[in-house]
């Protein structure tokens, strides 16, 4: 059996899921997410469906937003505002990795059972999508750092995008609206920045009060 080229890059995405579970600091996690965003939004080009101009536009839009704009803005945010770099795990890294491995096995098993005709040529497509979806949820629940939670949310979006964009043309038209989800992600990032700015100012205020007393 020869692997389809799409499956080859998807196997990298599966590996990146494990990598994201193991990464303890934000910059590494952001890079993993940027990589995932780029790969996932490129997949439609390699799948047999016809692409019209609107479709190409949306695919590039997604690539731009998830692969470049969001990771860059988070990078700038953690540099400018003092956000903690540690992801503060609730479930430890080793346990997370083990969960990740179990997840990939389970995802492969489940997608064998489902057997969707239109994507049966691509062995890893559905497993990767499920793995991304659940892994995103996992990061949302098992990390305390707010930025890490947003990154988990974006990983979930990637999973949904991967399912929708490959199943059929009609489903692709639906997940193209997923770009709107990135607006929500943007709002969350803004909330985090606001919170940190607020905290910084509060710190400054109390320090100020102390100096006056002396």
């Amino acid at each position: 059996m020869i692997l389809h080229p799409v499956d080859t890059i998807l196997s990298l995405v599966l590996l990146s899921v494990l990598f994201s579970f193991g990464s303890s600091r934000l910059p590494g996690l952001i890079k993993v997410l940027a990589f995932q965003g780029i790969v996932v939004s490129m997949v439609p080009f390699f799948i047999g469906h016809d692409m019209n101009t609107g479709g190409i536009f949306f695919t590039f839009g997604t690539l731009l937003i998830r692969g470049i704009i969001i990771p860059m803005s988070i990078f700038i945010a953690i540099k400018k505002v003092a956000i903690k770099r540690e992801v503060e795990p609730i479930v430890g890294y080793h346990a997370s990795m083990l969960c990740g491995l179990g997840l990939i096995v389970a995802a492969t098993y489940i997608s064998r059972q489902l057997n969707i005709p239109s994507i049966s040529d691509y062995k890893l497509l559905f497993p990767t999508a499920i793995a991304l979806l659940v892994a995103g949820m996992f990061l949302l629940m098992a990390r305390r750092n707010a930025i890490a939670m947003v990154l988990g949310y974006i990983m979930m979006e990637n999973g949904i995008y991967l399912v929708g964009t490959t199943i059929s043309i009609r489903a692709r038209h639906i997940v193209e609206f997923g770009i709107l989800l990135d607006v929500l992600a943007g709002v969350m990032i803004m909330a985090i920045i606001l919170q940190n700015i607020k905290r910084t100012f509060d710190d400054v205020d109390t320090a100020h009060l102390r100096t006056l007393k002396e």
Partner: protein, 479 residues
């Protein structure tokens, strides 16, 4: 021209961002009045939409629309008085977001296309997030963050559910527009497995927004941190909008003959919500959070009734209408209490019957209504649901339902008695109230409660017919 009804507030909402305080307050009331007028016109004429693939006038949409319009108009009058009493910074952002929120919710009620509905529900999240952050404290920021995060995950789930519904169309070789009405027509040909999967994801997704347990965790925080008029809108109408998405998807399930499946899931989620509300309401020490948990309870009741089917669906719709009317009046009264006592904890309030007699009448009336006492409509709705549950043989579920409602009543009554009759002075010093009760801060509540009361004894034929039209699609009715 159906579209004009949500485009008008959309435009005025954007304008309100750039206006000075005084004018934007008037614009708020003005938009409310125009919106009420337009929706009454819509109710009477029932015109076709220009983009008929995307928008349609459906009976369940009309019901929600009328509730939204009436509520928003009354709340906007209250808001003007409330804004004068409280110190909210950047008031034009608040009023602008309120109007935009109205626009997005109206869009939900009129949308027929699955994706238009999805976009509209997402837009309600975006428009209401600034409302929760109005006070600009770190607690309100945390509530906003929680609200946006949890609802975003929910909305992503709903997107996945929509993808699965298209998959059901592809496998069943169905060629139809992706609208609720068209899909209900061809529901029999859809692939049942993927349709079920789609329903579950859409239920979880919109259920998050509706406040069904265990996805309800954002709701108490958001409702208690938002200013009272915004909480009234959130609880009174936003939750209904999310319910509308579930209702319409359930219509497809019903037409496909999968109503047993969807009904069971709705019953389970409904009961879980009622139970969750009961556990948290008993030991609640903030009155606005208590009201929020009561909203979760009522959403549970509505989901339960919808799941029961038959006469239960009719009861659910009755509960939905009356819950909106009564709960929004309660939240408005809670705004008065907050301004009067300057405190959100129950233990720091008391003796409301003497100190704020007008608010007391509204608050106590609302409490009687929301806990399902006759002459208010929730009593009738719950009665129908219980009768429906016994008729369809859900004895255990009905038993849990009744017992939990009693527990919630006990908890609620205990707290309301403390607020109303407990000694406020608690010692020597004579505390003063922070609010003189203005008329315009109590009569919106009175009108809301009166409407609920009147609807109980006399329901206009057109309203009755619309409810029946809405519930027959789910196999409901008064038989």
């Amino acid at each position: 021209m159906v579209e004009i009804i949500f485009l008008t507030p959309f435009i005025t909402g954007i304008i309100a961002f750039f206006l000075p305080k005084a004018i934007s307050r008037q614009l708020l009331v003005g938009t409310g009045a125009i919106h009420l007028f337009l929706s009454l016109l819509l109710w009477k004429n029932r015109p076709e939409a220009i983009f008929e693939n995307y928008f349609a006038v459906t009976p369940e949409g009309l019901l929600s629309l009328l509730v939204i319009s009436l509520l928003f108009f009354l709340i906007s009058i209250y808001t003007v008085a409330y804004l004068k009493e409280s110190d909210i910074q950047k008031e034009n952002i608040f009023t602008g977001s309120m109007i935009l929120f109205l626009s997005t919710m109206t869009m939900v009620t009129l949308s027929d296309h699955i994706m238009v509905m999805w976009i509209a529900i997402e837009a309600t999240t975006l428009a209401s997030a600034p409302l929760i952050y109005t006070h600009r404290t770190s607690a309100s920021l945390e509530a906003t963050w929680k609200y946006v995060l949890i609802c975003s995950v929910g909305i992503a789930m709903a997107l996945l559910g929509s993808v699965f519904i298209t998959l059901a169309m592809d496998i069943g070789n169905v060629d139809a527009p992706l609208s609720f009405s068209a899909l209900t027509m061809v529901a029999g040909q859809l692939d049942p497995m993927w349709l079920k999967a789609g329903f579950i994801f859409i239920l979880v997704g919109y259920g998050t927004k509706m406040g069904l347990a265990p996805m309800h965790t954002w709701l108490p925080d958001a409702h208690s941190e938002a200013p009272s008029p915004a909480s009234a809108l959130l609880s009174g109408v936003l939750l209904n909008c999310a319910y509308l998405g579930i209702f319409k998807t359930n219509k497809i399930m019903h037409a496909a003959g999968l109503n047993d499946f969807s009904g069971t899931i709705l019953i389970v989620f409904g009961l879980m919500s009622i139970l969750a509300a009961a556990t948290f309401i008993l030991k609640q020490n903030e009155y606005k959070r208590m009201l929020a948990y009561s909203s979760i309870e009522n959403m549970g009741i509505i989901a339960f009734g919808t799941g029961i089917g038959g006469i239960g669906v009719y009861g659910a719709i009755i509960c939905m209408i009356h819950h909106s009317l009564i709960k929004s009046s309660l939240f408005l009264s809670s705004g008065n209490i907050l301004l009067g006592y300057g405190n959100r904890f129950i233990e720091n309030t008391g003796d409301m019957v003497k100190r704020m007699p007008k608010t007391f009448v509204a608050f106590f009336g609302g409490f009687v209504g929301i806990s399902g006492f006759p002459p208010f409509g929730i009593f009738i709705g719950e009665l129908f649901i219980i009768v429906g549950a016994f008729r369809t043989g859900h004895y255990v579920a009905a038993g849990i339902f009744i017992v939990t409602l009693c527990v919630i009543f006990a908890g609620f009554a205990n707290q309301v008695m403390k607020i109303s009759f407990d000694d406020f002075n608690k010692g020597d010093s004579k505390k003063t109230m922070g609010l003189k009760e203005r008329d315009s801060m109590v009569w919106p509540q009175y009108i809301l409660l009166l409407t609920s009361l009147v609807l109980c004894f006399y329901m206009p034929d057109t309203l009755y017919q619309t409810i029946i039209d809405a519930v027959t699609a789910l196999g409901g009715g008064l038989k």
